[in-house]
């Protein structure tokens, strides 16, 4: 074993505290250090993930007090998979914005990269932590960096989107605290595994109330339907890479938290059905809204919300197959949606309103970004040779094995809607005459690299789905096996 999970939090924090100091000596370091940190963390994550695949979960004790006394971090196949994915996406987002922000002055640039790094660290913390209250702290870290990044451009509307996000986030944190308090008052512990093992001692009425409070609180971050009013604005107003980071990283962490509560901590039998219902509502509402959007980024945002609904439905099936499908869709979404955001923001770069109609005829002006966008669109709706297909296929198989015919029918119908609005954009790109005189912007060198890497991954997963299915299968097994999680945490010792 090379390294230990606590470094995922400690190294970025140390770097964050040091960046202002280094920045005084050498200004370029504020851009480079976050990238180096993320690259190191990626190596660490891959090492630990391969270790975990062979040797079983790592439980990291903090401050020398074994659970349930102290806080602990859990790096198992499931959380490890998500952490690796998030850090990989974080590194690409950093690479993409490295030159993207090169025209920005020193002060804002320092803050941008610092906040971006902390956004990723907070999301990683949410996934790794084994403590309810510690998760709240990490959610706040993600929240504050998210508010600041959303309002990063000093244009007119970004502060509004950010303010909306902040209000929703604050209300969410109040609900989260209430739920934590109810659980603590009943079980006298805050450790997830300990709570899970004692859950049967808790009166059902407390269980239900605290579960609802958790779903509401995390639903705001995870963009569940009635609570996602902030998301489209934040996506549309934030800088392009930040939108990609939201959909590729932050939402994944929030969904992880929701799933951890449903699968491991609470033993409510109705919880899975709740997941299916809120997932379906979110999916349908989001896709129907997406088709009515005029701005490209808002359309992508609604599509992102819809995909999260699909993920929740897949988790709601409750079988290992369902979890496998959900993880596959999450993986695809984490790769494809940032790619769409990157290429989409280049397609409407010079346009003031960023409307969909501004992409008319871009196919001739900017062939590379157009092809990347088209590839992403094909992949996300689930056309065969691309990555998205396998996710949707495994979802349909899982649903069919659980006899959920109605859901299959509904999903297929929604997929048609999805195809319609993505193909509308692709159609405009290649077959419409350009109406405005605006020229295309050439992607920067780093953007070329990032988009090509993402496209290559999509094709690789599309042709060889087996390359990831082992990790996904391990992750799915480790999520469903609740007793193993509890056992491994509660028997952890200092290595």
């Amino acid at each position: 074993m090379v390294g230990t999970p606590v470094l995922f939090i400690a190294i970025p924090l140390l770097a964050a505290f040091l960046i202002p100091l280094f920045g005084m000596v050498w200004k370029e370091s504020v851009r480079i250090i976050p990238g180096l940190v993320l690259a190191y963390l990626l190596v660490l994550a891959i090492n630990l993930l391969s270790y975990v695949t062979v040797n079983g979960p790592i439980v990291e004790i903090i401050a020398g007090w074994a659970p349930p006394i102290g806080i602990n971090l859990v790096f198992n196949a499931f959380s490890g998979f998500l952490v690796t994915l998030m850090i990989f996406m974080g590194l690409l987002v950093w690479l993409y914005s490295y030159r993207f922000k090169s025209n920005v002055e020193y002060e804002p640039a320092r803050k941008y990269f610092l906040l971006l790094m902390m956004l990723i660290t907070g999301s990683v913390g949410i996934v790794l932590t084994g403590d309810i209250f510690n998760m709240f702290v990490f959610i706040e870290i993600v929240g504050i960096s998210g508010y600041a990044l959303t309002a990063f451009y000093t244009g007119r509307d970004s502060a509004e989107a950010s303010f909306k996000y902040l209000i929703m986030g604050s209300i969410a944190s109040v609900f989260l605290l209430l739920a934590i308090m109810i659980i603590y008052s009943q079980l006298g512990t805050l450790n997830m595994a300990d709570v899970a093992s004692k859950m049967h001692l808790m009166d059902p009425k407390y269980k239900i109330i605290s579960f609802i409070l958790f779903v509401v609180a995390l639903g705001i971050e995870a963009e569940i339907f009635p609570l996602n009013g902030w998301a489209p604005d934040a996506y549309a107003e934030a800088p392009g890479p930040v939108g990609a980071a939201f959909s590729g990283i932050v939402v994944k962490a929030a969904v992880y938290a929701l799933i951890r509560y449903t699968y491991t901590i609470f033993d409510l039998s109705g919880a899975y059905n709740i997941l299916i219902i809120i997932g379906l509502i979110t999916l349908v509402v989001a896709e129907v809204s997406a088709i009515r959007q005029e701005k490209l980024k808002r359309m992508l945002a609604f599509s992102s919300i819809g995909q999260m609904g699909l993920v929740l439905v897949a988790f709601g099936i409750g079988t290992t197959e369902g979890v496998f499908a959900a993880l596959f869709i999450m993986l695809n979404h984490a790769i494809i949606k940032p790619m769409l955001f990157f290429s989409g923001s280049y397609l409407v770069y010079h346009s003031k309103k960023k409307n969909i109609s501004d992409v008319d005829g871009m196919g001739k002006l900017a062939p590379f970004t157009s092809i990347i966008f088209t590839l992403g669109a094909f992949a996300i709706v689930g056309l065969p040779p691309f990555a998205g297909f396998w996710g949707k296929l495994s979802f349909l198989v899982a649903a069919a094995n659980s006899n959920m015919v109605l859901i299959i029918a509904l999903i297929l119908m929604v997929s048609v809607v999805e195809i319609v609005y993505y193909m509308r954009v692709v159609n405009r790109i290649f077959f419409f005459k350009r109406s405005t005189g605006l020229l295309a912007r050439r992607p920067t060198f780093n953007a070329y690299i990032v988009m090509s890497v993402l496209a290559a991954i999509i094709l690789i997963i599309g042709f060889y789905p087996d390359s990831v299915s082992l990790y996904l299968q391990n992750a799915a097994n480790s999520l469903v096996d609740k007793s193993q999680y509890i056992h491994s945490v509660l028997t952890a010792t200092i290595q």
Partner: protein
């Protein structure tokens, strides 16, 4: 119409939450209902005296048992200073322009001059004795920040150097994380208490706990001063 809807919604939410907490009960030990539940607070109360030799249990929880939370919390403050700077960033920075809350009379200015050292001293006392008496890094840091606030309000030209604030903040943060990593090297876990615990109710007791809390105190003081300073220097543009 919207108001009525919101009030109805709030009534339902309030009814359930209040009902839940009424059932939990006030002032009784909730955990005795079931013997299988061994609340962690018993261990905390026991170990803080036996193992850590820290008399203030809240301090030992905040700094040691749940020290990871505190690291995150300090980070939240750090981020909010950064966020404030990024949100209120302006291209041209007018130095010396600051909103004046009230024009300070000579009594206020000389009074602040007298009070300022006393406040800083009080703050320092509070965070050095964090493990012995109520108070600690947060409280002491906030008290020191109020001292700077007083000076900023009393003197129009009083300014705090952004660079020195940033240096104090960074060094304190690095101390916190660094002590954590030292604990990892010496004891095997992050934030491990690797120094001898000493005797209870002694100023030098509790191992690394006072060190961390002093670092937290400096960091919080620098961060909160930074917050106030940033907001105070944000003078509205078009009006006096």
């Amino acid at each position: 119409m919207k108001k009525i809807l919101v009030i109805l919604l709030l009534a339902v939410v309030g009814f359930y939450i209040a009902g839940t907490f009424f059932d939990i009960g006030f002032g009784n030990s909730h955990f005795v209902k079931n013997d299988a539940i061994k609340p962690v607070k018993d261990t905390y109360l026991q170990q803080t005296v036996q193992e850590l030799k820290v008399s203030n249990t809240v301090t030992s929880i905040v700094v040691n048992f749940r020290g990871f939370d505190t690291l995150g919390e300090v980070t939240v403050l750090f981020l909010s200073v950064t966020a404030l700077g990024s949100i209120l960033y302006k291209k041209r920075h007018h130095v010396g322009e600051r909103s004046v809350l009230f024009s300070a009379s000579s009594i206020v200015t000389s009074g602040s001059k007298l009070l300022f050292p006393a406040i800083v001293l009080l703050g320092t006392y509070v965070f050095i004795h964090g493990h012995l008496s109520p108070g600690g890094g947060f409280q002491g840091g906030v008290i020191i920040a109020t001292g700077f606030l007083l000076m900023l309000l009393a003197y129009e030209n009083y300014s705090v150097s952004h660079t020195s604030l940033a240096i104090v903040e960074s060094l304190a943060g690095v101390t916190f994380a660094g002590v954590g990593l030292l604990g990892y090297m010496n004891g095997g876990t992050f934030l491990q208490n690797f120094l001898p615990a000493g005797t209870l109710n002694d100023l030098f007791s509790g191992g690394v706990i006072p060190i961390i809390y002093i670092a937290v105190g400096f960091k919080v003081a620098a961060e909160l001063t930074g917050v106030i300073y940033t907001v105070l220097n944000e003078k509205g543009e078009n009006h006096g």
